[in-house]
């Protein structure tokens, strides 16, 4: 009787002492296994294309004379949104240049463009598949949740182990973190298209592919653009974190400044990131409103 009481007391005081889940060991083993088996694969097949796109973009952006770049931004902002946004873009980029972080901005912009390129490349098809198959989306959804909510620091180290340090692991981490919105919003945009419009397309003999490209996708485009906007913002928010594992650019300014307690340097990098983010946000929003599907549906 007293033994039973003793047992119950121990159970109440420390119920976790009875079981030790070896999660740490399991994860470590899994990661080690992945690294051991996929290291060569990822360094031969994943790194080169990612680095290639990154280098290409960076080369192209650096080739533009900064003055011409500023003018281009003015025109792009004007065309995509309004002349105000054009002027805002011009002023923002000029400020970045005057602060002396133009080259770092070019690196960061290249990182963002590369990450977004891969997010769109994989995100759009995945979003379209999700919209067409409930089962596919049911499987994909928890994966997206994990991608979005796992703190990036957790997968930075495995990324480095797989891809070594530099821009590539930073890009991979950024792509993982920034891809979910474009998948989700593509899926949502396509699913939101009015049923009667789909029915009309079907009634006139459209194939599934024609329905997608002539009706669903154009009408989903404003939503897809909102997803793209989110993807861009998330990839920008990753540049500082990516700097920890060796990615360059404005993020590195912030990280290096903090490490050396050079607050000024860190702030210059931070302001640069904010300005870049605001300009990219306004421009992509303007593009979303320009999309033909932004016209009122139905009614």
């Amino acid at each position: 009787m007293s033994e039973l009481l003793e047992f119950l007391r121990a159970l109440m005081e420390d119920p976790f002492g009875f079981l030790d889940l070896p999660v740490r060991q399991v994860i470590t083993d899994i990661v080690n296994w992945i690294v051991a088996n996929f290291r060569d694969f990822s360094r031969t097949y994943i790194s080169p294309p990612v680095r290639g796109v990154m280098d290409g973009v960076q080369w192209a952006l650096s080739a533009i004379p900064p003055g011409l770049f500023l003018l281009g931004m003015l025109l792009l902002g004007w065309w995509a949104a309004s002349w105000r946004i054009g002027v805002f873009a011009l002023v923002s980029f000029a400020l970045i240049g005057f602060m002396g972080v133009w080259d770092q901005m070019i690196v960061t912009l290249s990182l963002v463009i590369t990450a977004v390129f891969f997010c769109v490349l994989f995100g759009l098809p995945l979003g379209i598949l999700s919209s067409r198959s409930d089962r596919f989306y049911a499987i994909l959804r928890p994966i997206l949740d994990i991608m979005q909510t796992t703190p990036p620091f957790v997968y930075l180290v495995p990324a480095v182990m797989l891809f070594s340090i530099g821009n590539v692991p930073g890009l991979i981490a950024t792509i993982v973190f920034a891809m979910p919105p474009i998948i989700r919003m593509t899926n949502l945009g396509i699913r939101q298209v009015n049923d009667e419009l789909i029915e009309a397309a079907v009634a006139f003999g459209s194939s599934r592919r024609q329905i997608l490209w002539k009706v669903q996708f154009p009408l989903a485009l404003p939503t897809v653009m909102a997803g793209l906007n989110q993807t861009i913002m998330l990839s920008l928010s990753m540049v500082v974190i990516a700097a920890i594992i060796g990615a360059g650019g404005l993020g590195l300014e912030v990280y290096a400044g903090l490490e050396r307690l050079n607050i000024g340097q860190a702030f210059v990098g931070g302001i640069g990131i904010v300005l870049l983010a605001m300009v990219l946000d306004r421009i992509t929003q303007g593009l979303g409103e320009k999309a033909p599907g932004a016209r009122r549906q139905g009614d």
Partner: protein
């Protein structure tokens, strides 16, 4: 399905299985070139039924036979996916209740949508699309977007899109229900005008009996997934088969549906009294109007109308309506006997009362006099929606 075959009702099946029976046992034939209206309240399955024809909704049982101009008679429910697409591209098109225009495309590009799916060239699309757009009176609006048009104009675009593919069969799912009453009436007129030109076979869904009667050559009335009566508008109005149909019909406007042939009091009725026979002409008078004598020869042709010894002129009603262009001055009635065909509708016959004080004589297609319409027949036709009761 087995439950249906056991003869359970829609409600019983919903309770037992949680599934809803959309349409059950709805059989009908549609002749080429006619407008076949399906009338029923919302939720009775008429939209489901029309979607079974082009299989936007797959029927679980039953057949849809279609005489394809190239392939002969086909059961549409047995087509494979490819044949079905071909059918929808070429043979059957559709007009939707809420127009279903693509908001990101111009009006012209919407009209040409079916042609695009058919794989026609850009020039052809533009040319044919513009022609149909002209036909519905929107020739100038090709480059605008649907959201810039009013509801009535949007549905003209929807109609143009359906006409553009030159499909023989047009499915129209409550096309005018979302429109204002005045515009709705305009659109009905427009549709009938276009139909007189093009002679498409139209399956027209509506919840408005007056609309069904105005447009339909035949009407099927649906209740809870079943068709309860099929017939011409007049047959349904005059002879509703169930109480459900009778309820509808009670509030319908009979004046443009019921025909003179239906309400005329036949000359061989016992309400006519024979007064005289001379020179091979038999004279009759209606028992309550002994002063008017109608003279018919042995073959049944109307020879003369007399009051006492005066001969009353006889003129076709249509002539007078045409001459006066529908307008008439009340109080300028004369003593004239008007004649009309059996297919003249009540509305036209009523108008005769503005011109003449005397009954209208109904003439058969072969020229023989069938009977006459006086006030009792008119009133009976309007109030009771019935013909002469022997």
């Amino acid at each position: 399905m087995p439950l249906l075959e056991q003869g359970k009702t829609k409600d019983e099946i919903r309770e037992a299985t949680g599934q809803t029976v959309g349409v059950n046992n709805a059989s009908f034939d549609i002749q080429p070139g006619e407008v076949f209206a399906i009338m029923g309240l919302s939720g009775c399955g008429k939209s489901t039924l029309i979607r079974c024809v082009n299989r936007i909704i797959e029927p679980t049982a039953g057949s849809v036979f279609f005489k394809d101009p190239d392939l002969g008679e086909q059961d549409l429910t047995k087509l494979d996916a490819e044949q079905l697409l071909a059918l929808r591209k070429r043979r059957i098109s559709m007009v939707f209740q809420h127009f279903a225009l693509l908001p990101h495309r111009t009006v012209l590009s919407n009209v040409a949508f079916g042609l695009e799916i058919q794989g026609r060239s850009k020039d052809e699309r533009k040319h044919l699309g513009q022609r149909v757009l002209d036909m519905v009176g929107l020739g100038q609006w090709g480059q605008t977007y649907p959201s810039e048009l009013s509801g009535g104009m949007q549905q003209r675009v929807g109609l143009a899109r359906a006409l553009a593919t030159e499909a023989e069969v047009l499915l129209m799912d409550e096309p005018f229900s979302a429109l204002d009453p005045l515009i709705k009436f305009d659109m009905q007129q427009e549709l009938m005008k276009i139909q007189r030109e093009l002679h498409r076979t139209i399956l027209f869904i509506t919840h408005d009996l007056d609309e069904a009667m105005r447009i339909g050559d035949h009407i099927a009335i649906m209740e809870a997934g079943r068709i309860v009566q099929i017939g011409s508008p007049e047959q349904i109005l005059v002879n509703p088969r169930t109480e459900y149909v009778a309820n509808f019909v009670e509030h319908a406007d009979p004046t443009s549906v019921i025909t003179a042939g239906t309400i005329a009091l036949p000359f061989d009725s016992e309400l006519f009294v024979k007064v005289d026979e001379r020179n091979g002409i038999q004279y009759l008078h209606r028992h309550d109007h002994p002063e008017i004598h109608y003279g018919r020869d042995r073959d049944g042709y109307l020879r003369e109308v007399r009051i006492d010894d005066r001969e009353i002129p006889v003129r076709p009603l249509a002539e007078i309506l045409d001459a006066r262009n529908g307008d008439s001055v009340p109080g300028s009635r004369t003593e004239v006997t008007l004649t009309c065909g059996e297919d003249a509708v009540l509305r036209q016959v009523l108008r005769s009362r503005l011109h003449s004080t005397l009954p209208v004589i109904v003439i058969r297609a072969d020229g023989r006099a069938r009977g006459l319409i006086d006030d009792p027949e008119l009133i009976n036709g309007i109030l009771e929606k019935r013909g002469h009761i022997p």
